[in-house]
Amino acid sequence: MSPVPERSAGTGLSHPLVERLRAAAPILTVPVLMLLALPATGDPSAWVTLTLAGLAMGMMIFVMASGLTLVFGLMDVLNFGHGAFVSIGAFVGASVMLWLSGLLDPGGVTLHLAAILPAMIAAMVVTGALGVGFEKIIIRPVYGQHLKQILITMGGLIVAEQLIYVFWGPDEIPLPRPDALRGALVFGDVAVEKYRLFAVVLGLAIFLAMHLLLARTKIGLLIRAGVENGEMVEALGYRIKRLFVGVFVVGSALAGLGGVMWGLYQEVITAQMGMEIMVLVFIVVIIGGLGSVEGCFLGALLVGLMANYTGFLVPKLALGSNIFLMVLILMWRPQGLIPVAKR
């Protein structure tokens, strides 16, 4: 046995700066991707627009994906039905928005600005409540059985999608954004779309809130400990199952919120939107490292940026580029950008 620690073995290059760079490598991927895209797009104002669009998309995906990754980390549950909460949140939010806008501004063509916040809250409440039921009925009986989890949550997704058709009809619902969130702020020759700015701010706020909750509170400590070693947390007398239900509910509510944000972004909602977004969400969760919130955030930004840059440069490869990104990152770090230490 060599007494030399593994790190300083090997090359003699372990300069403190190199070490710090290596530790920061996952975080650096985002600015590196942005810088690489600058010469590729060739036009700084287009680059700003694309970068903001990418960040906005990334934030929205993060809002939807964060719950999934925590649920997996904490309880080893992979919820394929997560997309159902996105769709349901979007539909509940849309109903509330259309109803409130009708009350506040009869005869208006677009949604009313004041209707958005109540709609988001309503969507989160409904999807959170559904999360309680989903966890009890669908997920609890299949703890620890990955195969059955995948199958049964998939079944839940199918049923949820069909129920949306039952209650809201088979047609897609248009969601015209309020005028205040339409159009762009123009600085010189750089146009910054308002809604994207709004999405970035909201997403960043959620990330910061989540980060503070996880890093600074006792519940956050327990969640992080549970992700790392659930049995030990239980042995210390905490009811990890209850914690898990809480995380599941919050994750579902965030998915619902993400659904509303995404619906307003696209200005139209369909019952299959959850399933479509799940593809991106899975890529994000894999890139970030299953169970890691920070990784999920980085992954979401990478995916959002990549999708927008390639959408501009080579439109035909927009989704393919994300697969490529995933393969690249898995080759570099098979466990994702920020792997979670599991027992």
Partner: protein
Amino acid sequence: MVRWLLSGDYPRGLALNLGIAAIVLALLFAPFLFPGTRALNTAATICIFIVLVASYDLLLGYTGIVSFAHTMFYGIGAYGVAILLQRYGASWGAVFAGLGFGLAVSVLLAFVIGLFSLRVKAIFFAMVTLAVASAFAILASQLSGLTGGEDGLTYRVPRMLTPAFRLMDEQLLGVTMNGRIIAYYLVFVVSAVAFLVMMRIVNSPFGRVLASIRENAFRAEALGVRTVVYRSLASCLAAGFATLAGALMALWLRYTGPDVTLSFTIMVDILLMVVIGGMGTMYGAIVGAAAFILAQNYLKDLMGHMAEATAGIPVLPDLLHPDRWLLWLGLLFILSVYFFPTGIVGRLRKSRQA
């Protein structure tokens, strides 16, 4: 002879024997028993889906891998045949070239996906395949020069398989012996052979190794089985059979488009058929595919009548709307994962043993 054909793996159980026999006989004599285009179409779809579902069962039921890219391989087979038939005219050469090309692409793709995702964690595979399959579906609809985009491809098949071709002038048992009958029997025979080959595979030592990986991958590894190699092989094999099914579908439908080959709905259908029929039993594919496709084609009619009958009650007619049949099958799916994890076939077998 029968034993050799079925590789010694009988359905087991009286009800199951009779049921399987009834389905197979009905399919064998379908053109004579159930005249009409719609019935023949249903029968051919069942044959093709039996192969598709059985090949998926090879992955899910026998090896314990969840893949969401199965329709991608199915689509590759269909598009391979479709593109070559459209480009180079209706010849058998184009059909076989398309099939061969499709098989090569599928197996290679399955191998690459397996290489990347089967090593890391089995659960990655489900997510990676989902992502790759959806990217492929989008790619197929965007490369409209090659694939016809959203509209798909319509093409002519070899003349022997068209309704204009007459095998004999007289009718046989009241059925005109035209090229569609030949096409149906081509589908039937190829499907039957593919199914029996898969039976042979799962009952070979190779199949036992797959099952051992499903039961306990860690232990299999400890016994010296290179699980990654076997998982990748199973995934390539399943991809190959799915490609074959796709090629048959392309020949039968004379049309290939994203909705009939690549859509996620079909993936969900396959999943439902495997689970409801019975995972890990090849016969589950027969029962599942037959039950599901019959339901798909005829349950809608029934639900339409029920919706009309309940027209006065609030939510009920919406729940019974013919387009909502997937809702009921979805519920059935969840219930069967809970209570009958081995599906209809496993259930019938168990009741015999008890």
